[in-house]
Symmetry: C2
Subunit: 265 residues, 2 copies
Amino acid sequence: MRIARIAHAGGVHHAALEGDTARIVADPFGGAAAALSADRLVPLAEARLLAPVLPRTLVGMAHNTGLEDRRLPPQAFLKAPRSVIGPGEPVALPPGVGRVDAEAELAVVLAGSPEGHTLDTVLDCVFGCTVANDITARDLQRTDPLWTSAKGRRGFTPLGPWIETDLDALRPDDTEVALSLDGVPLPPASTRRLARGIAEILCHLGDYLPLGPGDVVLTGAPGAYGPLRPGGEVSASVAGIGTLTNPVTGSLPGAGRPAPAGDPV
Amino acid sequence: MRIARIAHAGGVHHAALEGDTARIVADPFGGAAAALSADRLVPLAEARLLAPVLPRTLVGMAHNTGLEDRRLPPQAFLKAPRSVIGPGEPVALPPGVGRVDAEAELAVVLAGSPEGHTLDTVLDCVFGCTVANDITARDLQRTDPLWTSAKGRRGFTPLGPWIETDLDALRPDDTEVALSLDGVPLPPASTRRLARGIAEILCHLGDYLPLGPGDVVLTGAPGAYGPLRPGGEVSASVAGIGTLTNPVTGSLPGAGRPAPAGDPV
């Protein structure tokens, strides 16, 4: 089932997407909309998709981009929760920060805490999966070793377009992740290539990080990534979920200079 | 005015503390309790103080502990928002993480985003101030350079006991911060000693970090800090606000070994 968050004439609600229709549902993460009738239908044409969840905790995995990263211990980073934006919302490139990269990732949306779970049971904590763009000011990672100003900036975490809750159909540990910059697709890669899969990531985080319903885990970029251009557009896709597209605005000093390719972090 | 969050027979609510009485108030940060009557009174003896706010963003300042830190550029770190606990809740020391330090700090609770503000106007974004204990697994800061596992652990951010909203009386840029371990007070210090004061911190964060109502900024520990002991107790105090006390549970390998003193980070 696809669960979205929509803005429509009646307000902002979570909704199950069924063809051209959004069926309003109670907030799956226990927010204020929980008492809402489940029978209300909104034509999708009259609704705008928002970020499907506003997480309290937004956590990503460092160096989880290829099998060779297994040589390093797992390591997590926090992004500012309010850096989340929805499909179609502009990513504004801040002046003076240098190169800003897009990274397409599978994002896990939690139904509950993975604390105390094993590899065999930890997927019980998963509500569903969505698409994330882990936007990163690459040059700032060097000057800010805590990454706060490189990854947590306003608009730096597009999420969406919806949450796919059918994990059996999605098979999140072997699904293709792709990035497209200004309409040009980059080479995709399967989540199978990640150093650590979803269950291993969640067990690692469950060992120490307090997590709960609606929290979001970015699992790492298995494929190619690349720099954003002012006036351009970025699309992140996960097979079995969908495509998350955002326009890019703002200006970058030196943006005309070609940026070298490299491995995402 | 002192604003607390209390658990009582009628549920969990924000309340203004007036002597021995808590007057229930609407959630000052726009949550579900906003429609509540403002006339309900609860005897404080029948209420338990909780963390006064559950922030979406919990951000601290690195190396802001003394004037010499001005030689370094300002740098922020994110703590996991669900690491927040209230007064009296136990801090459980995880096994195997080595030394765990308490750091007493003044915490700023935001009424809104500091984006676009100047040093002259940025205090308009402040809802009030509370006391924070920025608990830090010191050894893990060396093995996890992103600090996520060192600072973001379950129970690692006691907050409280309430929010003082009268900044004119509090004078948060020159008030004494003190830490007491197992009943033994450590040397206190004024927030005047911080490398950067509240207005400068908020302007720095407003430049890039998306912040909003109820978010919490830990301003740095101006005074001495020290290691937690299983079975002990830790109290952090800010003059003009109050004292935040938490019991310490759990066991630390090597906890009997005296830990060297040093500067907090």
